[in-house]
């Protein structure tokens, strides 16, 4: 899927853009490309979906999104597709996934809910519950961040 050279480009682009007037020129030189070729390659990566976006990754906790809750749900297997799609349509939900269950873990649908306060998260979960008729759920607030980092690919 990716050529060795494309992997090399990924390695360079994940290291961050230099804070100089012509940053693409600096990276292009390391790769043996022209500035224009590199910029075209970045656009191509975006078109191919290899890159979700190009720009800044910020810490949202610092920007007022202080509360986030993982809301986990027990959904009957035959309703999970319809309920998952419905919950995904809410703007307060940033992620929505079906995941497997275990004997001591009955929850099969995961939604990440964001808000300015814990109360906002609780209210959002209640709205999701009322909209879908699903009553078995649990909010799990994070109490500490032990690691948050960007993945280094192809290292």
């Amino acid at each position: 899927m990716l050529t060795e050279f494309e992997k090399q480009i990924v390695r360079e682009l994940q290291n961050g853009l230099p804070l100089v007037s012509r940053p693409y020129q600096v990276i292009a030189e390391r790769l043996g490309l022209s500035e224009e070729e590199l910029m075209n390659k970045i656009k191509e990566f975006l078109d191919r979906g290899l890159m979700r976006r190009f720009g800044a990754a910020v810490r949202h906790q610092d920007l007022g999104y202080v509360a986030n809750a993982m809301v986990v749900w027990e959904i009957p297997e035959d309703q999970i597709l319809i309920v998952g799609q419905k919950m995904a349509s809410f703007t307060e939900v940033s992620h929505c996934y079906q995941r497997p269950t275990y004997p001591d873990w009955p929850y099969n649908l995961f939604t990440m809910v964001h808000g300015q306060t814990k109360e906002e998260c609780l209210a959002a979960a209640k709205r999701l519950s009322e909209a879908t008729g699903m009553k078995k759920y649990k909010l799990m607030f994070s109490t500490a961040e032990l690691k948050k980092s960007s993945m280094k690919y192809f290292v």
Binding site: L13, L19, G49, A57, H95, R99, Y153
Partner: protein, 152 residues
């Protein structure tokens, strides 16, 4: 930390519309009615303050051929920092949070194959001696909000 209005406008702009042009900082400066030097200094300061974690490509791990999972582990409270140190050492562990549940440690793991995921999880169990670890790979993805960078 204190962010002024221009910092906030700049952050909004560079999260979604970072220019892919020869002089991107100059282009941002023109949009925000300031100088290229001011933009470069501000981005540098926001990086130092940790507001900007990274400026560059935000990749789609699946499209690059990586596979990811979410795991939860029951860690005795007195062993949290020691166990976190073992887990966080793996470069493929991108997030690790404590949450209020008896499965209290929640981490995401990325690797280039299912086999590597399974090897790393087995290593974690062996090194920590904790067997209560559940692997929760996504079976259906209903939503990943693209411009909200949590990279799970």
């Amino acid at each position: 930390m204190l962010l002024d209005q221009l910092d906030k406008k700049l952050l909004n702009l560079i999260q979604s519309d970072f220019p892919i042009t020869a002089k991107p900082y100059q282009e941002l400066a023109e949009k925000l009615a300031t100088t290229e030097e001011d933009i470069i200094n501000r981005i540098g300061r926001l990086q130092e303050q940790g507001v900007i974690r990274r400026l560059g490509g935000i990749f789609d791990s699946r499209s690059l051929g990586y596979t990811g999972t979410l795991c939860a582990m029951k860690v005795p409270p007195e062993r949290i920092s020691e166990v976190a140190a073992v887990i966080n050492k793996y470069p493929g562990i991108t997030h690790n949070y404590l949450r209020e549940h008896n499965y209290n440690m929640w981490f995401t793991l990325l690797a280039d194959s299912e086999e590597n995921i399974s090897d790393i999880l087995n290593e974690i169990k062996t090194k920590t001696g904790i067997r209560q670890l559940i692997n929760l790979p996504a079976q259906n993805i209903f939503k990943i909000k693209v411009n909200f960078d949590t990279e799970v």
